[in-house]
Assembly symmetry: C2
Homo-oligomer: 369 residues x 2
């Protein structure tokens, strides 16, 4: 179906409606015996693809709910293939794999799976009605750790679907597709999905309409994240419930100023400013940190070990510190792990990862005939 003679590469909005049959000159047109009733599906460019989307750190201190960044080298991978056994326009999740201990919690029902929801949404946006897709998800990220696990699944899936059909969706479309998934699992926030798709730091300045501001960290500078994840399930509901409903004016002004300093730190590649701002949240972190055993001590340990700044990643329980050097990052990580053990009585593991500047991407693909 997708390869019908009616396929056109003209973008949907410029597609001319076919002339109606009762007009005399129509008979001379090719395929006039079978004009499409609506726009045709885009052709599948690949028969199968594999896409990767990176982990993300959202709720960056005073950047709560509107600023996030992508982390290189860890993330989720989604493989998608055109599958004649799947009902046209639908998604079938064939496999979910990964090391996360609670991976069994993930549903294979595409309507209840982040990758599934984002893939379906991307298919809808592309107008895919002629082929069905099967999808397999490799979870590289632990679930519920504060590293944007659901966003990475969604981003990898949306990008995979988009790649199969020739990259017709814009970055904004991809983020919107993933937002459908985020809305279902954690709320309508783009501060994980946007950086997972776009890479680097992304500020969400509006939702209606969606406005994404790419904040370019200078390419010549290095930025490492020390991600320390304890063996502890951060109670998501409790983490949300801990947020204050009302904020006093002095704290509001303080956090706004720190948000500004954070953005300036990123754009100017000033790690000192960036780290200080990251550590400065007076509204969300003070409410959430006490819910993660040892978090205050972990932050202190990170700073004492030379980190520029430290805060909770996402809604936790991962702690994130920033530094400019991988080796220093490892030493900082050791101290943070030790603090989780000592003050929180929690076993934790550290990862030192660079800023991801690419975002979700195609890893491989097999061209369609």
């Amino acid at each position: 179906m997708a390869s019908t003679a009616w396929f056109t590469i003209t973008p949907p909005s410029f597609y001319s409606k076919p002339t109606t049959l009762n007009r005399p000159f129509f008979t001379i047109r090719c395929n006039a015996h079978n004009p499409p009733k609506t726009q045709q599906d885009p052709l599948a460019v690949y028969s199968s693809v594999k896409a990767f989307a990176p982990a993300t750190v959202a709720n960056l201190g005073p950047g709560f709910d509107f600023l996030g960044c992508a982390v290189d080298g860890i993330g989720d991978t989604v493989s998608v293939k055109v599958d004649p056994d799947v009902h046209p326009g639908e998604i079938f999740i064939s496999d979910i794999s990964g090391q996360s201990p609670n991976i069994h919690k993930l549903s294979k029902n595409p309507l209840w799976n982040c990758a599934g929801i984002a893939a379906i949404e991307a298919m809808k946006m592309l107008g895919i009605r002629s082929v069905g897709l099967s999808l397999s998800l490799e979870k590289g990220l632990p679930l519920g750790s504060g590293l944007g696990s659901s966003a990475a699944s969604a981003a990898a899936a949306a990008v995979a679907v988009n790649e199969i059909f020739g990259k017709r969706l814009s970055v904004d479309d991809l983020v919107l597709a993933c937002l459908k998934s985020e809305e279902k699992v954690s709320g309508y926030h783009a501060d994980n999905v946007a950086p997972s798709i776009m890479g680097g730091f992304v500020l969400i300045s509006n939702y209606e309409p969606l406005e994404l501001v790419r904040l370019k960290f200078p390419p010549e500078k290095e930025l490492y994240f020390v991600l320390v994840t304890p063996e502890f399930e951060a109670p998501t509901k409790k983490m949300r419930a801990a947020l204050p409903l009302e904020i006093g004016m002095p704290h509001h002004v303080w956090n706004c100023s720190q948000a500004g300093a954070l953005v300036a730190g990123v754009l100017q590649g000033d790690l000192f400013m960036l780290g200080k701002a990251l550590s400065s949240d007076k509204i969300v972190e003070p409410k959430r940190a006490p819910l993660i055993p040892g978090m205050d001590a972990v932050k202190k340990a990170a700073i004492e070990a030379g980190a520029y700044g430290c805060t909770i990643s996402g809604a936790g329980p991962t702690a994130v510190a920033v530094t400019d050097n991988e080796e220093k990052g490892r030493l900082i990580g050791e101290q943070m792990v030790r603090a989780f053990q000592k003050d929180g009585n929690l076993k934790a593991s550290a990862n030192v990862k660079q800023l991801d500047r690419l975002g979700a991407r195609l890893l491989s693909g097999i061209r369609a005939n």
Copy 2:
């Protein structure tokens, strides 16, 4: 006195306390008969100076209370001279001039005058105890218009005093000197004094200790402010009282994100982003605008006339719009003046001014002998 043989250029903190008289070897030291009890004053490099400090726009939309910028070509001028008739270590205000209709409200008592307070503070910081200064103030700015009139007086005075004694104070010192004045007249906020002294955009990220972030607007780009001041006294107390004490989380997150976008707009020279963020405040402007007759219509008129953004300057009543071209600025200003007349029944005047990138500066000086 200032030229006593005891004068030393050693900075205060490194000054060695003189050896006490009862120690035998002391007698061989020069000037040992009259050792200073404390550190000596720095020498006056000029006998008189004239300094200028620019107007400023603070409370930049979501930058409320922490972000301001300087405006070229309008400001206050302070002349200071070493005056043997003035008691050493003190300030005498000899003259206050200017066109502002309420200029008579300004006190000549230096303890109750912004320029006087800042000058005294700068003298204290420099340790001036041997000479007295007389000061005259030319108010180029209207009082209470939202253009940082008090800050400009303080900044010009502090810079003038600093110049007379050889520029020994740092930028931070100068801002702190001016903060003493601001504290007395309008509150401990540096978002006017910092840009008036430093020029450009300045973000205040901390007060204890003072931390100022210079946000460099790209030098190759142009930025014009359309400043429209109605004949209306914004009731300062009412303007402060209008501020909400508590802010709901959604509005807090919104304004924080806009503050971030504003900073990004400034640093990237993206006037579209800057203007949009400037116009986006959901917390302060909606409470204050209704207190300035016609303000909502003025903002609308500015945007319709092509301004990138518009908000209240400081605590008002001046409205500030931004654009990239002087001629466009004049047309925008005309529409804003018209809207003040039509919707607020207020006569208003417009000024189109560029971003000031220099800050307070020496205009002229007569060298000391």
